[in-house]
Amino acid sequence: MIKEKINLYLIQYAINAILRQKSKNFFILNIFILLTFLLTSIFFISNSIKYELNSTVEALPQITVQKIKAGKSYDMDTSVVDNILTITGVTDAVARVWGYYYFENVGVNFTIVGLDTYENQYKKSFENIVKKFDINELSENSSMIVGQGVYESFKKGYYLQNYFNFIKPDGSIKKLAIAGTFNSDIQLESNDVIIMSKENVREIFDINEDKTTDIVVKVANPEEIDTIAQKIKLMYPDTRVVTSEDFKVSYQNIFNYKSGIFLTIFIISLFTFFMIIYDKSSGLSSEEKREIGILKAIGWTIDDVLKEKFYESFIISFLAYMIGIISAFAFVYLFQAPLLREVFVGYSELKTTFELPFVFNFQTLFLVFFLSVPVYIAATIIPSWRTATLETDEVIR
């Protein structure tokens, strides 16, 4: 049955035809592999980062309230919390204290987050996410938990001991002991984060007791989030109210596809590909034309010629596609995308390992397939069809 449908002799002929023009076809194969490899690698990385983000989006606060003054975010009054709590439907509102600390020796930004106190409610969470964990040290007020990247930055900045000296706005020093580091499993989230008590954060950033960085609001019924956000905005017109829906939208639009590196890469790879296509479709060489002519003269039908051309282009494009995606999988997930990684991690000294979660996405594979294989096959078959429909003696002459 299959033998009737697939003519093995035609495949043999197609292989020989490919091998007759070894160097040309080898070149096309390589460009094709590079194209699929580059496109799929970028898609894999961005898909994995999106997946990573989306796996935690539900844990984010339902409503975040920030004060905006003259276009910048300012500290808010802690009393706002009490007023927000009076809104029906609000179950909890927490005043947060957090900010960025610039460590000049190494030139990196840390994110310092204040927790109420190291209470028992955090104990269970800490057990899951912190290694080198010592609850006794934590309960003392002058300690902190740091991300892996922060710990390495401390080491780089010659703080080999178990503590770090923060420089307060007035120039004095606040010494805090390192109680533990976050697990490397959650490095993508925790690399630059330092957790300590709110009192310490207030001291380091010089934030008064009656001020807060922003306010996080919990709502009982998720359907009411928008209404409550509007109410808060009405009560405090100078605030920016970010809902969990905004986070989802923000996560969807994480990559700046409209400008810059993605556009450059896409344009370069597509341009290269279409150059090949143009070269193919702009007409066959006289030798290829003669070949088709001779084949027709010895009795091949147009159908046979087109089938043979189809096999020829399918072998090249499909092999290239398969090799391209297999190497992209290995490149991104096994070797952590060297070189391409630099596009995503930026040039900050505080680098994460690029261990991305593996996501198998059919859509990406189909997208790259349909962008490359059928286009190439069409670009081979159409000019051949044009030649094959001509009179044989006209072609050979």
């Binding site: 495949i11 983000l53 990196v108 900050s348 994460t352």
Partner: protein, 96 residues
Amino acid sequence: MNKKTTYLFYTIISLFTLFFIQIIYLYSTKAITKEIKEAKVEFVQLVQLPDLAISTEATYIRHRSLADIFSIYKDDGSLREYFPSTFTYSHSQGYK
């Protein structure tokens, strides 16, 4: 089937096998397990801050979901829109 066709078929079959073995291997070693996902969720619940610590050179990239439209100017008067990461990640998405 002559030798070359056999080679071609073997190549295609081995590529498919390699592809499936790779998928299975990556799925079993590199995919997020339930425990890791729970740890991640627990961490995010603890700090309550969005976005990943992949690119931390500027605050409007690190916590881009919470950044406002003037953040670029806030970090540096010289408009540091020239970080490599600003060509990769779009910033100030959360502004309303």
